[in-house]
Amino acid sequence: MVEMTRVDAVREIAAGYAAQRGPLLPVLHAVQDRFGAIERGDLVAVADVLNLSIADVHGVMTFFHDFRAAPPPTHVVAICRGEACQSVGAERLMADVRADLQEASDVEVHEVFCLGNCALGPSGTVDGRLFGHLTASRVGASLPGRSS
């Protein structure tokens, strides 16, 4: 079997949604789920298949926080800074986690505003997994190879 190029794969994803109403967001999600990011070439292919301008697709992609132009590092930690989590120490948690992971080039730490777990804060996710009553040491223990 011939290896499919990335462009072909993206075109196939886009074509799979083309018959839907408003297919662009589902397509962007599907491309990012598959490749971890939406790169320039992907964007061009999506625009072509969906019959949109590249500028339009780019404009939509950059409007939303979720979409990335480059893939994330191996691990992603998201700490909630919503008010409910702040009331139980989210700012402190964020500072501690950032300090702990300062040197770790394979971990991205970023803020989010509410994960819908506001009664059990502070909340956060480690590689997509949701934690309540989160602590900095729990973050460390949840990152493979860092349990100290």
Binding site: L24, H29, N117, C118, L130, G132
Partner: protein, 527 residues
């Protein structure tokens, strides 16, 4: 076989429910059912067990306690409930709660919309039927669509997404709009911090939302529906998608719903991490595949919404209330509540609170009863200082104003806002200057960018609060305070939507009730 009910709700999972379920699965004589959560979130993972005496609960179960749980579950009938909260007396035995239906935290509630939450298997439409599901839809399909609309009007149901617009009146507009293609869209963006009821309902009782959507479709003449769920909710997305497929297979969705001739289908769409997508016109643009910028109204979505067609936009809780209204009649629903706030509100107790979770009660309960009665005060044990009601755009209510009744009118009269029913508790260590700054920071980060007062004003707001709190001479502080008040007024008057328009609410309430945190005297003057 003994049935163990372990929540698959994201909050329960965030504190270990999956591990408990895994430890129970495969034990001899054990059947594990993954339910939603009852909403007693401080007790999660909360496991229920079917016993000869009915269903009983165990709190804060850890995987290591599963052995003891199995032993307790068979001998439990002889025991008295040992605790209502907190760790069990013996560390290896989970705290026994007795029947949850008799637990005071539950019996004081009026669970209409969330009656089945944590009780039913969210993957099983027949279990839904055994607990009163599909009754409202069957009744609606036997009525004229106009009559269904009028029942919802008569129930007094108002939108639960924040603005509180009467649902039936909105439906009437859509029903009366001409055109062969109409949409029902569900706003499940739930971006407000301190809120999680939409999520819990979708994860614990998804067929209630589907049934409500089918009734809405019948009432307004819509053929297609969308549920727009924020990407931060992967559990809800998965549960809703599975439920939609199951409903289609079972004939509760599709070309001929329950043989009535109603053709209606639903698709789940996923957001992409932008708070503003909860604003209805932004949500519609996002579903269409455009930038999620807010559109000016008119045209209102009811007349020209998704793809320019007449569209219902309602919150999850609004539409999930509809099946019970149709099943039990509008009078039964309207019998709950006060003034023009009819029915129940699903409150979410969050933040620094001892007993956080989901509380569905009649409108009119005082904030104090919610925070102290249900919530048990702060989790830290320190005094309550402020309570933010209604999400990031809601006011900070000071501890001495907690007797305000939670209803649309009473809250507005007091200068507060009910919003989506989020209640976030802060203890006396909170710095209200920082919280006011955060309100502006959040607005600056999440503004859709369309109007200057919101986009630039919020950035100026952050800087001005920084300067005000930093101090300086009395005239500096006087100038900064005046500037901040001006900025708030400009945002309130010049913003296209409530993002910019209401961000001043938390800021001004912080200034009014907590002037000392800004270096101001009690009368709000620089000192």
């Amino acid at each position: 076989m003994t049935r163990f009910f372990v929540p698959g709700d994201a909050a329960a999972v965030s504190v270990g429910a999956d591990e408990v379920a895994a430890a129970l699965t495969g034990q001899p004589g054990v059947e594990v059912v993954r339910t939603g959560s009852r909403g007693m979130l401080w007790l999660e993972p909360l496991v229920e067990v079917d016993t000869a005496d009915g269903r009983v609960g165990f709190a804060n179960v850890s995987p290591g306690q599963v052995g003891a749980l199995l032993a307790d579950a068979t001998s439990v009938c002889s025991r008295e409930p040992t605790a209502s909260a907190g760790p069990a007396p013996e560390a290896d035995h989970p705290a026994y709660l007795g029947p949850l239906d008799e637990h005071p935290w539950m019996t004081r509630q009026a669970r209409l919309t969330t009656a089945r939450l944590g009780v039913v298997d969210p993957a099983d439409p027949d279990d839904y039927a055994r607990h009163g599901g599909w009754v409202g839809l069957r009744r609606a399909l036997g009525m004229a669509p106009e009559a269904v609309v009028e029942e919802v009007v008569a129930s007094g149901l108002r939108g639960r997404g924040g603005a509180g617009f009467p649902a039936g009146v909105k439906w009437r507009t859509v029903a009366g709009a001409p055109g062969p293609l109409k949409f029902v869209t569900i706003n499940a963006d739930e971006g407000d911090s301190g809120t999680f009821a939409d999520r819990m309902l979708m994860e614990g009782d998804p067929f209630a939302l589907i049934e409500g959507m089918a009734i809405t479709a019948w009432a307004v003449g819509a053929s297609e529906g969308y549920v727009f769920i924020r990407s931060e909710y992967p559990h809800a997305i998965a549960t809703m998608r599975r439920a939609v497929e199951t409903a289609r297979t079972g004939g509760w969705l599709g070309p001929d719903i329950l043989g009535s001739g109603l053709a209606f289908d639903v698709e789940v769409r996923v957001g992409a991490g932008a708070y503003i997508c909860g604003e209805e016109t932004s949500m519609l643009s996002t579903i269409e595949g455009r930038r999620g910028e807010v559109r000016a109204k008119p045209p209102i979505p009811a007349l020209s919404g998704l793809f320019g067609r007449p569209t219902v936009v309602n919150n999850v809780l609004t539409v999930a209330a509809v099946p019970s209204i149709l099943a039990d009649g509008p009078e039964a629903y309207a019998a709950h509540g006060v003034d023009r706030s009819r029915g129940t509100q699903v409150f979410q107790l969050a933040g620094n609170v001892a007993r956080g979770g989901l509380v569905e009660v009649d409108f009119g309960i005082t904030l104090r009863d919610l925070v102290e009665g249900f919530g048990g005060g702060t989790r830290s044990g320190r005094p309550v200082r402020a309570v933010q009601v209604g999400g990031p755009l809601g006011a900070y209510v000071p501890a001495d104003r907690l007797d305000v009744p939670l209803a649309y009118e009473a809250m507005a009269d007091a200068g507060f806002m009910l919003g989506h029913g989020g209640v976030v508790v802060f203890d006396d260590t909170v710095d209200m200057g920082r919280m006011a700054r955060f309100a502006m920071e959040f607005c600056a980060k999440e503004s859709c960018g369309k109007c200057t007062p919101c986009r630039i004003g919020s950035q100026r707001g952050v800087e001005t609060i920084d300067r005000l709190v930093a101090g300086g001479t009395e005239s500096d502080r006087r100038a900064n305070l005046a500037l901040l008040q001006d900025l708030c007024t400009t945002m309130e008057r010049g913003s296209l939507c409530a993002m910019g328009g209401l961000t001043p609410m938390p800021v001004r309430s912080a200034l009014t009730y907590f002037p000392e945190d800004f270096g101001l005297s009690a009368d709000g003057e620089p000192r």
